[in-house]
Structure formats: C-alpha cells, structure tokens
Assembly symmetry: C2
Homo-oligomer: 251 residues x 2
DNA sequence: TCAAAAGTGTTAATTTTACACCCATGT
DNA sequence: ACATGGGTGTAAAATTAACACTTTTGA
C-alpha cells in the first residue's frame, strides 16, 4: 500500500489502526449480458502477504477522522473517489496480522462512469482526467466479486461480509443511487437491483414498488434509442440515501 | 475507569484504541407497571469529563481481541457479564477526546436475573456472588434509557444509535433471547418486545407470528400463579440468535 | 362465580406475486 | 409491420391487523 501519512511507525508493542475499504461497482463483463459486481484490489508490495491481492487501505493519521482516512487511502491506492461510503466493521483479532493491527473497514459504491484514469487500468477505457492527487497507481486490478482469488489477511471474509451488507441494504434503502448516474430509467435501476441480488425481478412489480416508495422523481425527459423511449427518473433528495451509521453524524 | 491492562500509555502523538459497551437490560421501574430499557453508566474519576457519567469501557490490550476487550472492560468496570455482545460502531472523530482515541463500541444485552453483586448497587437487590475478578465496583448506576443525563464525550449519541440498533434488530432476529431466562411465557416475550419497541402488541397476533417463525419450542411445563397457567417456551437453538457481524466469525 | 390472562377463530385490509396485455419506437 | 422493451391492468396468494370469543385458573 502507498503510505504518505505523517504518523510515525508505532513501536512494536503498540496497536496500530489501519483503514481499508471494499469498493463495489457494476460492470458488464465480457461474455455476460448482465451486470456483475466487481471490486478493485491492490497487489501488496510489502512483506505480510507480499504479492497477494488485498483491499485498498492504509494507516490512520493522527489528525484525521476514520471517514477521512478511508477516503484518503482509497484515493492514494486506487485513485478512486466513491459516491457512497459507509463503515462496515472493525476487525481486531490478535492474529490477523504479524503485528497488532486493528482495521476499520469501510465499504463504498462507485458509479460506473466514475472509474477514470489510474484505476481504469486493466481495462481498455479511454483514460479520463486523473483524480486530484494524481498518483500513478499501478497494481490495481478489478475482480468479479463472485470469483475472488485467495486474498491477503482475512480479506476474503471481509469482502463476503460487505457483499452481505450490500445485498441486505439494497432491500430497504436507496443504496442503488450510489451506482447510478443522476438520471436513469427504471430498467437501469432494476438492472442494478438484479445484479446485487443475483436474481431476476418482475419489471411490472418492480416499477410499482419503487414508484410507491416515493424515492423517485420522474423527469420529463426520456431515453431514446432502442425501442419505446423510457422515462428518466432522478432520486428524491429529500429522502435519506441510507442510514450511514450513528445519526449520519459520522464519527 | 479501572485499568488493569498491561498496555503502556502510548506517546501523546499516537492513536489509542478504547473499547466501550452499551449494556441494555429491562427493569420494572417504580411507578410503572411496564418494563423499561435501562443501562449502567460509570462515573468518570479522571480528567476528561471527570464526574460525568460515561459508558463502561477501557483500553484495548495489545494481546486481546476487540470482543475480549469489550468483555473484560465490562467486567472490570461494572462486574457484569452480558448474555449477548455485538459490535456497534467504531467512533474516530479527531475531536471527540482531548487526546486521539478511536473507540470501538459494543452493545450488549443482560438478562434481568444476571444483575448481581457489584453492579446491583443503587438497587436493593440481595447481593449475589461477585463476578470473577471480584472488583468492588462503585460509581456504577442504572439509568432509564429514555431519560439520560448529559454524558461524557459523544456517549449520548452512541446510546441513541445503540437503541436504534436494538429496536431494529428485535424485528428480524431472536435478540429478545438475550433478555429472557431459559424458559418463558409468550407474555414474557411480548413484554420484552413491547418494552423495546415502546408500543403495545396484539397478544393474539403476536402469538401466531412467533409460533410461525419456528424459533420457539413449546415445553410441557406451565407457569402457574395468577390466572390461567401459561405454557413455557424455550428458544430453538438451531436458529441463530442474530447476525453478530462477519459470519459470526467475530474478529 | 367472577375477574383476568391464556389461547382460538374470523374477517377485512394490505402487500406480494404472477402474468396477460396494450403502447411506442427504431429498424 | 414487427420485434422489443416500456408501461398498465387484474387477480390470486400471502401477510398483517383488528377484534370477538372461548378456556382455565385463583381468589
């Protein structure tokens, strides 16, 4: 992991606090006509588990909040800036690393159109403008969340838990917003739900459920293209995106 | 807070990890015939917020897991051993304490009959056998969760979040088990739900819902006493108590 | 025998699910 | 004109909610 924080290496007998993030986005993988959940991993260049793939992360700075540390380490290691970020869990087993590390793990969502520059590596995307600190990130690769290799540390379990939380949360919050552009059709939205839940949804019933939830605002614009034009919707900003922890007054 | 850990005080420029716990139990408060959610708080004897009430907790030991630290600090400060313990959230705002502290907060449930000895202070209970390390705990007092004073640090918000989680979780898991004895009547169970949710539930419908959930096993014993004897039930151990985080493989 | 809690029955309202069918557009 | 996804209608099934009623005990 890249490490630019100003925190000194703690003595060997102290507990260090790390922050990692599971970043999900959706992608139409070749050979599949449906969206898949994918996430970026970083190849470790240091000793514990060197060479293995791991979640992006880094050390907590003395003067930054947990949220800020998650955003910063994310940008440093992958160049990505998520559209949604929520704390997942604090992992603190004594033996999860050679030295004592407590990891505060976050999970994040990224709109497909936000994958630019550095982190687009391994993909033939047109390189967009780099994220602010403009780090030339190598060693980042995207993986199908359903077919991960063996990861460093306890990161396989962490990703599994994050996936569980994502699937759970899509059922009772507007979390899908974090994966869509400003305006979208009901088919777009349904496709997101189907990718996350891993099953088909009835278009008619899906439409009614989401319409009755009051979270969507119909626009007077339509997406034309293939067949009958589909109405574009946007999310109602009055409704909370999701409960992001304690009263949204994040730490 | 009592502090027996072997971890040295970290230098002023390092982040320290603390563990605190919100412990809920139910009690029939005088002047009320219904159960109330109550929790124990500890009066601070040290500088930051000295004299104010705070959540029980302490520092994380270098050689103990987060869960173990929660249990240990809980026992040291209150003498209590909860029947259910789950991680709530990691709080890490820079300004939440004069020095940099990341608090891993847990929430716990306690069966009413488990309140013994030390922590029973302020209540005229017969003093039971003391918890293992047998610390003579003073400065512990129980508060109605709905009427808390101003607490130290950000502990008011933390308790509020824990209450939200408790109410939320009672709806989809057998969390009430953590507040009941081995055997209980449906009225006992309903009373727990009513206390947590803060509203009356229809006895007939409650019975059917819980019977159809498959989580209860009827015994052939009855509780006699006031009127028509009520059948005693026990929880079906095959069903998980609740999702306690990452695959129940706690950190 | 009467009050009160245990437990059963019944029905209306609401939500979920399944699927038939019409609509509008690019090709 | 027709294939295709957008969008509406309808009804069965399942769940939730409200409440009347019967049973069993202690006092």
């Amino acid at each position: 992991m890249t490490r630019t924080s100003t925190q000194p290496h703690s003595p060997a007998d102290a507990t260090r606090v790390a922050v990692s993030t599971v970043i999900f986005t959706l992608r139409r993988l070749p050979g599949s006509d449906s969206l898949q959940v994918v996430l970026p991993l970083v190849r470790r260049t240091r000793d514990p588990h060197e060479g293995q793939w791991a979640l992006p992360g880094g050390w907590l700075d003395i003067a930054e909040s947990l949220d800020a540390a998650a955003s910063r380490t994310l940008a440093e290691t992958t160049g990505l800036a998520p559209s949604y970020l929520e704390q997942l869990y604090a992992f603190g087993a004594v033996d999860r690393s050679p030295t004592r590390v407590v990891s505060i793990v976050y999970w994040a969502l990224l709109r497909a159109d936000e994958i630019t520059g550095d982190a687009a590596s391994e993909d033939a995307n047109a390189p967009g403008p780099a994220i602010e600190p403009a780090p030339a990130i190598e060693n980042v690769q995207w993986f199908d969340a359903a077919a991960l290799p063996e990861l460093a540390f306890d990161h396989n379990e962490i990703v599994g838990y994050a996936l569980w939380r994502l699937r759970n949360k899509v059922g009772y919050s507007r979390i899908a917003h974090g994966l869509l552009a400003e305006e979208f059709t009901l088919a777009d939205l349904r496709e997101v739900y189907e990718a996350i839940l891993g099953r088909q949804l009835d278009p008619a019933n899906f439409r009614r459920q989401v319409e009755n939830s009051g979270t969507l605002i119909p626009t007077d614009r339509f997406r034309t293209g293939s067949h009958r034009p589909a109405r574009l919707y946007r999310y109602n900003q009055d409704v909370e995106l999701a409960d992001r922890g304690p009263l949204d007054s994040r730490d």
